[in-house]
């Protein structure tokens, strides 16, 4: 270790202001502090500091995402093997096939997005922010496994540049960069990101396994025939509450299963890294909106209205979105009351878009982006109320 440290110290002057490669200092700093914690001491009060830093914080989110990534890899491989009727495929075969499908997407996202990140850090002379480690992984997990790699590159470029850097970089962006990237692809290249055929890679269309449809539970539920039962429609397509919760089905890479998302949520809540108030608010919003629509259901209306709330939790990407996307601290509400409201509205909007709006099968991305925009407003009202409460408190002390 001493050896590596001495090499870093030897090259440091080269990257410092005035050095030959001074412009590349952010790059050096990123590598240097990746290998060793920085040597800097406090400059004033407080003279001692907590061991936690942004690196630790962001790495925790990446760790919380790991179960989703692993499950996503397995599921993408398994779906491929089933759809293409690969004979004798077992656990390791699924995993290997999934890795071949998913890892290139993740790598393109990290490499292309990372290049933009470094470029902006050098030009604008700010440090490379570890938050990108999360963005670069979140984005691929929201994509279908069949996404063309050039679209991954295009999407993450848009997300990093337009979603974050033009606002001034981390901490100043309004929208979640990963969702901005996905929204761009969703509207610019819809055929590759939505529909029934994008969720599973088909090697040879003539050899598709018998009975394979590729439709997601959301598409099935939305398409349930009038007068029928939405649960029957789901069951006939092979979707039960249990199967949807386990999530061995078509969907975006990281969000089909409830189990790894819940593991991630537990990690985020126990470590305090993810805002539990947003997650709890989101769950309440979902349940509330689902009950409201249940009450509106009738024989001549869409049977989707009657779907119980726990089905909504199990299907689609509600859980993934509320746990990992909505809790991004930069784009979320920051007051405690604001977090409840923000989460609640996201949960309720997701259900409304899913069930009532025929244009979009899923509402998670749009709900979160919409509430990203609204979060400052939510906080504004909470802060106004806080100031009024402060005045009341100060006024409650009688003066002799």
């Amino acid at each position: 270790m001493k050896f590596v440290l001495s090499i870093l110290d030897k090259f440091r002057p080269l990257f410092e202001p005035g050095g030959k490669l001074g412009r590349l200092f952010p790059l050096f700093e990123a590598g240097d502090t990746f290998l060793f914690t920085p040597a800097e001491v406090t400059e004033g009060a407080p003279h001692v500091r907590d061991a936690v830093d942004i690196k630790r914080w962001m790495i925790t989110v990446v760790a919380a995402l790991a179960p989703c990534l692993l499950f996503g890899i397995f599921n993408a491989g398994r779906q491929y093997n089933i759809a293409n009727a690969v004979a004798g495929a077992g656990f390791w075969h699924h995993l290997g096939r999934g890795a071949l499908i998913v890892l290139p997407i993740v790598m393109v996202s990290y490499v292309v997005g990372g290049l933009w990140e470094v470029l902006f850090a050098i030009v604008r002379k700010h440090e490379i922010n570890e938050g990108f480690l999360v963005t670069g992984l979140l984005f691929p997990l929201t994509l279908p496994p069949t996404i063309p790699l050039w679209q991954v590159a295009l999407g993450i470029s848009f997300g990093v540049v337009i979603g974050k850097e033009i606002f001034g970089g981390t901490g100043f962006n309004v929208l979640n960069p990963a969702l901005t990237a996905r929204a761009f692809l969703f509207f610019a290249h819809a055929p590759q990101i939505t529909g029934d055929s994008v969720w599973t890679k088909i090697a040879d269309p003539s050899k598709v396994a018998e009975g394979f449809s590729g439709a997601t539970p959301l598409a099935v539920a939305a398409g349930a025939p009038k007068g029928g039962s939405v649960l029957t429609a789901l069951n006939e397509a092979g979707f039960t509450l249990k199967s949807m919760a386990i999530g061995l089905e078509g969907g975006s890479i990281g969000e089909t299963s409830l189990i790894p998302v819940l593991i991630g949520a537990i990690v985020l809540i126990l470590t305090g890294v993810g805002a539990w108030r947003i997650m709890a608010g989101g769950a309440l919003g979902l349940v509330g909106a689902a009950y409201l629509l249940n009450a509106l259901a009738g024989p001549d209306r869409s049977p989707f209205l009657a779907l119980p709330w726990y089905y909504h939790v199990a299907m689609g990407s509600f859980a993934f979105g509320i746990v990992f996307m909505a809790t991004d601290p930069v784009s979320a509400a920051a007051t405690n009351a604001g977090k409840w409201i923000y989460g609640f509205l996201i949960g309720a909007l997701i259900i409304l878009i899913r069930v009532v709006n025929p244009a979009f099968p899923e509402g998670v991305m749009l709900s979160i982006l919409f509430m990203n925009v609204m979060a400052p407003l939510v906080d504004y009202f909470v802060v106004r109320a806080h100031i009024r409460a402060r005045e009341r408190y100060l006024g409650s002390f009688r003066r002799a």
């Binding site: 406090t42 003279h47 001692v48 942004i54 440090e127 470590t271 805002a275 409460a389 402060r390 408190y393």
Partner: protein
């Protein structure tokens, strides 16, 4: 008198190692003593002595060009050895070589029973002429008050939760009468109340403190910053726009009492010496010469290696050069080792040796009761501020610190005042800065905000 303690729930004790033992040891030898003017913001020093002059203890050494009547006095009798100038010929300190006989100037001496009835002007003049008036602070803005203005109330802080300030109940031993005399003097300075804030869970509380007369006693209980003056004021009688209150530390009230009873500034000063940089068997209270040399006090008492010496506590104290001297209002010296060690891939390690408020290191679960030998390492790089609401868990006041900080950063003084800026002191944000993962310099931001509001006027 309120008997039920005010319970403070938000906050966090940083569990620093090096708590000083509750005994007072004599450490009076020092080669010289010093008068230091720079510690008083807004003070324009004018030299009243020259090198070679003989001064008695309590004789004026430095006057104020603006605030008439305030003088700083010699902490010991002796010869003016040197006047040290700093940048732009400002007086940094006046060094006095103590004489063998410590002759004291006779200032106004008060009878213990008479203080509570003395005229305000008499007490005020005694404090101004001795320089002890600078032990008082004014809120808002946390600066030496304007003596002409009468404060609405005076808050005496007899509780510390920051590591490590001197504990009133230790320092008060043998000075019970002086403490009461000091409190009596304070009651003459305000038409309102004098509030004495004490720790409900104090170890061996002194009856002289818990039974203090002529003041209103309040008890607080909870983790740091439950012992901060801002927190006390906020829960007892918060500052409203237009208010002026004065604050003072209880250990300084003892010194004010001694000044008035003895008719001269006390020749000694009790300081708590603590922190991980101090040798284990030397972590205790010392009776040192007032204004004495730090080097004399610290000699042989610190661990080898590079240390940072602080006037005050580890969170909100001020770093001072080790060749410096004890300040007038100083009741603690905290010493922390400078820590420039780099650790391999710290972000990925389980962190058995790391101390944190967050559940992100195994030490939190495996070593919950350990006291930590913190060094001064920042433990991470500076990063952009993200408004997360994290700070809120560490400031037990009706204040949203994230939004207050943001308003100050945006120079929106009007909003900052609405959000409670005037109720705060930079020290209140030291704990928020401690836990901040972006390593923000919050106390400096708050100081700047207070200065801006003061210069703009309310």
């Amino acid at each position: 008198m309120s008997a039920t303690p005010i319970r403070i729930r938000k906050g966090f004790d940083i569990r620093l190692a090096g708590s000083p033992e509750r005994v007072i040891v004599s450490a009076l030898e020092t080669p010289d003593v010093a008068v230091i003017p720079s510690e008083f913001p807004g003070f324009k020093p004018r030299l009243l002595v020259k090198e070679g002059d003989y001064v008695r203890r309590g004789a004026p050494v430095i006057g104020d060009k603006t605030r008439t009547g305030l003088t700083l006095t010699a902490p010991a009798a002796g010869t003016v050895k040197a006047v040290v100038y700093g940048a732009r010929r400002s007086i940094e300190r006046v060094i006095i070589a103590p004489a063998a006989r410590d002759e004291a100037e006779s200032l106004d001496r008060f009878d213990a029973a008479a203080i509570a009835r003395a005229p305000r002007e008499a007490i005020l003049q005694a404090l101004l002429k001795s320089g002890f008036f600078t032990l008082l602070r004014q809120r808002p803005f946390s600066k030496v008050p304007n003596p002409a203005a009468a404060p609405r109330a005076i808050f005496v802080n007899g509780m510390n939760t920051a590591p490590f300030l001197a504990d009133l109940h230790v320092v008060i031993a043998g000075q019970e009468a002086a403490f009461q005399a000091g409190l009596d003097a304070l009651t003459r300075l305000t038409d309102g109340k004098v509030h004495l804030c004490l720790d409900a869970d104090a170890f061996h509380p002194s009856p002289a403190a818990t039974g203090a007369r002529n003041v209103e006693i309040h008890y607080f209980r909870g983790p740091h910053p439950a012992g901060n003056t801002s927190v006390h004021i906020h829960h007892i009688d918060p500052i409203r726009p237009g208010d002026t209150v004065w604050t003072v530390r209880a250990t300084d009230v003892i010194r004010i009492g001694r000044l008035l009873l003895e008719g001269a500034p006390p020749a000694d000063q009790i300081v708590a010496l603590g922190g991980p940089g101090v040798r284990v068997d030397h972590r205790r209270y010392y009776r040192a010469r007032a204004g004495g040399a730090l080097a004399a006090l610290l000699k042989g008492r610190l661990y080898d290696g590079e240390n940072r010496v602080l006037n005050g506590d580890a969170l909100a104290g001020e770093a001072v050069a080790s060749e410096s001297y004890l300040r007038l209002g100083q009741n603690a010296v905290t010493v922390i080792p400078e820590d420039r060690d780099r650790h391999f891939m710290g972000w990925a390690m389980p962190g058995l040796g790391a101390f944190s408020h967050a559940n992100l290191f195994v030490s939190k679960f495996l070593r919950p009761l350990r006291r930590w030998d913190h060094g001064t390492n920042r433990h991470g790089s500076r990063r952009a501020m993200v408004v997360t609401g994290l700070y809120e868990r560490f400031l037990p006041m009706r204040i949203l610190p994230d939004f207050l900080i943001r308003a100050v950063l945006a120079h929106d003084t009007e909003e900052a005042v609405k959000l409670g800026l005037l109720e705060t002191d930079p020290e209140d944000f030291a704990l928020c800065a401690f836990v901040c993962p972006s390593k923000m310099d919050l106390p400096a931001i708050i100081r700047r905000g207070l200065d801006e509001v003061e210069s703009e006027g309310l």
